[in-house]
Structure formats: structure tokens, C-alpha cells
Symmetry: C2
Subunit: 182 residues, 2 copies
């Protein structure tokens, strides 16, 4: 995880990963047959500690949305995981990247979770056309803040910006339930 | 630009760039002595067409903020530039990346521009503590949407989400000037 976070996938030497794990390169490739499979393994391990893992039992509505702000707050204490995701999610759009499907599917799932939570929190209709753009924006603001924070942690408070954007969007979508300044 | 956008910096072969430019590898390195200098040249060229170039004569206040939405709309017609910035800005947080200072300075400048525009548009005090988190969030939402859009263009409308987030934040910060639903 540290090597992929510090170098990206393409630039990560298997030898460095082997050294850190106290294995030979052949040893690493015994457990993970290719570098791409090693990356997949890292991403799956990461999933177990994050919101990606939230299934049918995840918190709903407002509780889920507050959970996103808590995640942004916790992320400021775990730079390695933030770096891993910021670097790999953007790198995944490059040609033939082994994590491209992983990130496409991850965003599809996250967008649906956040859209569901917005509808429940705001009491909004299934066909409210503002819900999906708002969900995409909430996920985007969390991602974009990570890159700014990694480059200049003293100038960016991920939790404060995430909460401000989320509260503003909730007031815009459902002012009766989330009045301004509330 | 196409090669760095498609592969990222570390994984971009100078030979491919030379082939596309109709030069030998030695020819490329005659004009740009290192791969890092070639990347810097690409980023400086890009600057001339983007909001990064906006100086003291840039539009102010609300006009500047609308310009951001227009940029998001235009970006949907120029995938190459979006890909270049999405890939390189995130890759820049990796160790010893040659564009790290470029992106850190770029975000510092953009955050100040957007914060100024928010204060002017909303008639907000210089010391209003919500302005900087809101500015960071606006830049973040634009960046984060790019990665989602590159992975799944049919599911993300960058301009619609950017405008919704911007309008919601303006209403939250200055409801007298930007009333809900206005």
C-alpha cells in the first residue's frame, strides 16, 4: 500500500514491495502472480476499512451523509490511505490501467449510495433530477479535497469543506428539512 | 500532451512522444533536455488556454464564478486536456514528482481567486471563515467530477453538478444576494 501510494502503480517496483515485506521478488509473485493482481489485492484489503464496504446494513439517509463528513475527518489522520486512493483513482483513467474497472464500479456504487441517502434525508422524489448531480458533486468534493490536502495540508480542512458543501446542497434540495443556517 | 494524458508522467515513453512529433528521441531531448522539462513545457502550453492564465484582468465576483461553470461545460468537449490535468494533478503528489511545485502553486492561486470572487459576489467580509472552505470545495468539486466523468461520461454532467454545488454554496454564504431557488 505504501509503495503504490508513494509511486503510483506504473512506477512501483515489485522489488521495493518485496523488500518491505521481507520477501524475494519471486516470493511476492508466488502469492500474487502479477503486479496487477498485487494492486487488486491492496485495493480489496483497503475496502475492508472504508465506506466502500458498506452494504445493505449501511447507515441510511442523514446518518449516512454525516458518516461521509466523519470519513473526511478521519482521513486527515491517515495520509497513506488518502494518498493511495487519490493517486490510483486518477491513474486509473490512463490506458489499460488494471484498476480502471475497480474504480468505475466503485464510483457507480458510491453515487447510488449517496443519491439514496439524499432522497431519504430530504424526503425527495425518486425522479428528482437534482439528486444525481448533487450526489456526484458530494463524492467529487471529497476526492478533489484529497489532492489539495496532500499537496498543502495546512491550507485545506477536508472535513470543514465537505460539511459546508454537504449542508449547502441539503438546504438547496430540501430547505424545509434543512433550513439555511440550521 | 496526448501521451502524458494517456499514460501519466512516469509511464510516458519519450520515444512515443518523439514518434508523434516526427522527431528522434535525441531531437526531442535537444529541445527539452529532460523528460521533466518536457512535462513542464506541456503544462505551460496548457496554461495559455485555461483559467490558470487569468491575471489581474480576470473577470470578478459572480462573473468569475460563472466562468468556472462555463469551463466545466467546455471541458466536456476536450477530453484530452481534462485527462492531462486529472492524471497529472493526482500523480503530482507522488514522491519527487516534477510537477509537484507546479500543482501546489496552481491550487494556491486558484483558491485565492475563487475566495476573492466569493467575497465580491456575496458581499462578504474579508475575515468570513466560511469563504476559504467554500473556495476549496468549489475547486475540489470541479477536479473530482473530472475523474468520475473520464471513467463514466454518461453518468456525470460536470457543468450541471458544478453549477448546483456553486449555487448551493452561494445561497448558504449570502442568502440575501442569492436566495434559494434564485
Amino acid at each position: 500500500m505504501d509503495t503504490f501510494a508513494a509511486r503510483g502503480y506504473h512506477n512501483a517496483p515489485i522489488q521495493e514491495i518485496a523488500d518491505r515485506a521481507g520477501l524475494t521478488q519471486a516470493g511476492v509473485l508466488h502469492y500474487f502472480r502479477t503486479k496487477a493482481q498485487l494492486l487488486t489485492g491492496v485495493l480489496e484489503l483497503r475496502d475492508q476499512s472504508g465506506i466502500e464496504q458498506l452494504g445493505p446494513d449501511r447507515p441510511r439517509g442523514t446518518e449516512f451523509l454525516r458518516h461521509l463528513v466523519d470519513t473526511a475527518r478521519r482521513n486527515a489522520e491517515r495520509e497513506g490511505i488518502v494518498r493511495l486512493y487519490a493517486v490510483l483513482s486518477a491513474e486509473s483513467v490512463t490506458e489499460d490501467h488494471p484498476a480502471q474497472t475497480y474504480f468505475r464500479d466503485r464510483y457507480t456504487g458510491l453515487r447510488a449510495f449517496v443519491a439514496d441517502a439524499l432522497r431519504e434525508a430530504g424526503g425527495l422524489a425518486e425522479d428528482d433530477a437534482r439528486v444525481e448531480p448533487a450526489a456526484n458533486a458530494i463524492i467529487a468534493v471529497m476526492d478533489g479535497l484529497q489532492v489539495q490536502w496532500l499537496l498543502d495540508p495546512g491550507s485545506v480542512d477536508m472535513a470543514v469543506s465537505t460539511e459546508l458543501a454537504l449542508d449547502s446542497l441539503l438546504t438547496a434540495l430540501a430547505p424545509d428539512r434543512f433550513p439555511a443556517g440550521g
